[in-house]
Symmetry: C2
Subunit: 387 residues, 2 copies
Amino acid sequence: AGHDVIVVVSAMAGETNRLVALAHQAAEDADPGETDVLLATGEQVTVGLLAIVLQARGQRARSFLGFQVPIRTDRAYGRARIEAIEASALLAEVRRGGVPIVAGFQGIDPDGRVTTLGRGGSDTTGVAIAAALKMAGTNVVCEIYTDVEGVYTTDPNIVPSARKLARVSYEEMLEMASLGAKVLQIRSVEFAKKYEVPIHVRSSFSEAEGTLVTKEDPSMEAVAVSGVTYSKDEAKIAIRRVLDRPGIAAKVFGAVAEAGIVVDMIIQNVSEDGTTDLTFTVPKGDLKKAEAIVRKIAPEIGAASVESDDQIAKVSIVGVGMRSHAGVASRMFDVLAREGINILMISTSEIKTSCVIHQKYTELAVRVLHDAFGLSAAPTPSGPVKE
Amino acid sequence: AGHDVIVVVSAMAGETNRLVALAHQAAEDADPGETDVLLATGEQVTVGLLAIVLQARGQRARSFLGFQVPIRTDRAYGRARIEAIEASALLAEVRRGGVPIVAGFQGIDPDGRVTTLGRGGSDTTGVAIAAALKMAGTNVVCEIYTDVEGVYTTDPNIVPSARKLARVSYEEMLEMASLGAKVLQIRSVEFAKKYEVPIHVRSSFSEAEGTLVTKEDPSMEAVAVSGVTYSKDEAKIAIRRVLDRPGIAAKVFGAVAEAGIVVDMIIQNVSEDGTTDLTFTVPKGDLKKAEAIVRKIAPEIGAASVESDDQIAKVSIVGVGMRSHAGVASRMFDVLAREGINILMISTSEIKTSCVIHQKYTELAVRVLHDAFGLSAAPTPSGPVKE
């Protein structure tokens, strides 16, 4: 179509896992910086290969590694953040009629050492390069090619009538991504939002238009809810009848945070006898560690008991329209109640409402909410999610 | 032993071949620069792994890629030559108590693009780093760990009594390497000779002392011949009864060189009737191409016939002692004649004499020469070559 193209590529399927396993074989607690040296080879192979293939088809092309662009990051090996991208070398190659092929996922730190950006980091590389090009005065769109055709109103494996969204706002995408619709690395969306780079999420296997992740516009508020998401990756811990005194929550969550465990939802109910129940969720994989920490603290905070439950799920509705539509949350509670689904925890933000329920009701809850908020429609011609 | 150590590592066994195959799958005539981007990942993986392993054992260590040292090369992708090595970053790491682990085989060109040094290039990286350290005022030895215990007087598979040489001069090593004793990359020896860096070639699998490749010293001249080598990788072409006129040889070898074929030995005999026979050897793999070129030129130079033979072998004796010992070459011819081995071609240099013979006599020739020049001895305790 006459567009200039810059390509960012990931490693081949399975390659990053293979390299992680190699590092782990070498030492259980492998140095993160040296592990990044290993991991960065996955993308180094694919940029070389793609350049070879394009050249063989008569298209001028050349590969760019993190240090060659350069893509400058901080020193947080394994989860580095991009601090600056120099667009000039890429633009020079484009001006020469070439296609720059950039290694995703990798960068260099201030000492010139190799860093990687964490799982899905190539998304972030792509968006960050688009942002750098935009700041350099270029009119740019970032297309992310993935194994699904776009962002859906919910998981089509659960609700076959799920629709592909034509547009979704950065804010909604952030809520959906963090809630389990694993289409884009969250950080890439934050980057896109910050620099207002539109992202077109589309399939590597079809020509169909995907979903445009973009700035919120008035038309998006016409619908109250854009999507229904769920996650089965969390577990909950309840501390019963804690003394209702200042500093108790800080004590509990300070100890949990110190162990590197990320707490998602926290609920505290004030009861009438001067005690309270403190309930929170953690990643399922951290449940045992978190429970042990809490049980150790329990006597100090006068807790009557500690209970845990890993048979839970979090179901959420997301939509910028919630800001202007009243009663969306209560409608959600009502829909769940009608199906006899008990709500264990509730958490709300400006554009989402989440309920923790028993895990066995997950699919039912997603289906009835998707239906109740008018998200179901005739299947799009592009079909359901590919796996 | 209290020494400071800098390590250079190669890729894992088979990895470079795997990467070459990947590039070849992508395009038959893959771009050499992009192929180097691929190939360099082999050493990137091993430096990361070795750093991880050393750290796990409590030894401070860090990896250095070509661009991080930096190891500056020319732009000859796939066979780049090292132009400069900066020793300061490596020495700084040593001063901090760390072991720098350098990726062998790779460098960067003046544009910051990845290059590789060709097969065996890690040897050259090691020697070049040693040379850079020496120039920086360090007292340095370069140890090359390989799958044999050192340099032998000949191939122990043919002559079980072959001895491991304690010392060998750079010049002898160059002749032996280029003649088929594939222990070190030739370029690494050239580098070592230029900067007078001693190389200790030794086994990765034993503590035994190996062979010191070093400056020639008077003691080395005591023996006439240090080693017997052979090669079965060549073929010969004979052009019969060429007109004995100026410019004929230039015409033939100009055309062969233009096709990128490297000619090794050339023999021209003047005959009595104003014609001459021109005989030369080429790598076996280039025989067909070379023969076709010669047959095309044959009528122009009045040749009576063109013959080729790929059932030949080159047997050579090497030794700096030849300079001071008279009659070494004629002794060689005599030894071969006594066994009824016909000599098809002869070529001599200051420290070697080579004879082309029928291939079927190779092992016999190597054995009798090894014996005749007093190289046989009781087997060393370190045993024969490992494969």
